[in-house]
């Protein structure tokens, strides 16, 4: 039992009966992890919903301070990166390592663009004092009549910040995937890590799909 079956592929852990069991287990656990991710964001969505219903006018007016163009650009960037990620998995399934590698690098670059645009957005907000919480100091003519716009910016920064953190973590994971693919550790026989990180990356996209309209479009 402890003697390992010599025919077993080297990525098969000894405590699994076969490759399929291992793959299915990882994937199922990944989805359980997605559940925890969704519920982490759930807390923030609840805060958003509650405060929006308490301060409807403030939310509508404060959202006009956000830059829709940058938001839309980020949406496009992120959707495209999702596509390239899916294609990277498709390529490795077809055992086309080179294409897979290109797609992963493209995903990485798009992720970088996303954070770049986010950085531009943030730095503008910092300049004009549209900051979270007590650091808020922007009293321009559009908002001077509003009650507590700092709450809108608190929620905006926390939600997009946590999302940005996920993008950054995703970038780290993708960088590792690029390395592993380059080294030839992944193939159509074994691409579990790419599939898992793919799911994570699509989740990041999925959350942005909600953040974008909630903050930039309908405030």
């Amino acid at each position: 039992m402890s003697n390992h079956n010599p025919d077993a592929p080297k990525h098969l852990k000894h405590y699994f009966a076969n490759v399929d069991q291992q793959y299915e287990t990882s994937k199922f656990a990944m989805w359980a992890f997605i559940l925890t991710e969704v519920l982490t964001f759930a807390g923030l969505f609840v805060a958003y919903i509650v405060f929006r219903s308490w301060y409807p006018d403030m939310f509508v007016d404060a959202h006009k301070l956000l830059d829709v163009n940058k938001g839309l650009m980020n949406t496009i960037v992120l959707i495209t990166s999702s596509l390239t990620m899916a294609l990277a998995i498709w390529a490795i399934q077809k055992n086309n390592r080179k294409l897979s590698l290109i797609m992963l690098i493209a995903t990485f670059v798009f992720a970088f663009c996303f954070l770049g645009i986010k950085f531009l957005e943030y730095s503008h907000k910092f300049e004009v004092g549209q900051l979270p919480g007590e650091y808020y100091s922007y009293m321009g003519p559009e908002v001077v009549h509003l009650n507590n716009p700092h709450i809108f910016f608190s929620i905006y920064f926390i939600m997009t910040g946590l999302h940005g953190l996920h993008v950054a973590i995703g970038m780290g994971l993708i960088a590792w995937l690029i390395y592993a693919t380059y080294k030839g550790n992944l193939s159509s026989e074994y691409y579990t890590p790419m599939e898992m990180i793919g799911i994570f990356w699509h989740l990041v996209d999925l959350i942005w799909i909600y953040l974008f309209p909630l903050f930039y479009l309908i405030g």
Binding site: A42, V46, I49, S53, L72, I76, L83, A86, S137, I218
Partner: protein, 139 residues
């Protein structure tokens, strides 16, 4: 691992195109004033987009249904959290016998009283040429 479903390339491209198209649609719609329907439309579009991502990019359509169950469970618990919290926050003072319970005493946080007015670039407007107010802005 040969039996795993491989989604055709065409599917991915079509899905990505629809996602981009829907993103355009939701921005376009946001410029039309539909009143309270605004949020409904935006959330509807977002949900369609999210389902496309989940079912096709994340392969839920072809996966073991347990994985889909996990995902739906997360949405269900999110729903529970929102709904029950709103039962409180939306209905405080709902008996209307005690109207004072309904709203906060001070609608606005105190620190706004000391904030100087600014222009759209965040620079203080010298309304009262009040010097010590300005220092506050430089942190």
């Amino acid at each position: 691992m040969s039996e795993h479903h491989i989604t055709p390339l065409r599917t991915y491209l079509i899905i990505a195109a629809s996602l981009l198209f829907l993103s355009g649609v939701t921005v376009w719609v946001s410029y039309i004033d539909l009143g309270p329907l605004n949020i409904v439309v935006a959330m509807l579009v977002a949900t369609i987009k999210a389902s496309l991502v989940a079912f096709f990019f994340m392969h839920l359509l072809w996966d073991d249904k347990k994985n889909l169950t996990m995902f739906l469970m997360s949405l269900m618990f999110f729903g529970i959290f929102v709904t029950i919290t709103l039962l409180d926050t939306e209905f405080r003072g709902d008996l209307d016998l005690n109207p004072e319970v309904k709203d906060p005493i001070n609608k606005r946080a105190v620190f706004y009283d000391t904030l100087p007015l600014t222009d759209t670039h965040g620079h203080p407007v010298d309304e009262h040429s009040d010097n010590h107010h300005e220092d506050k802005d430089h942190h």
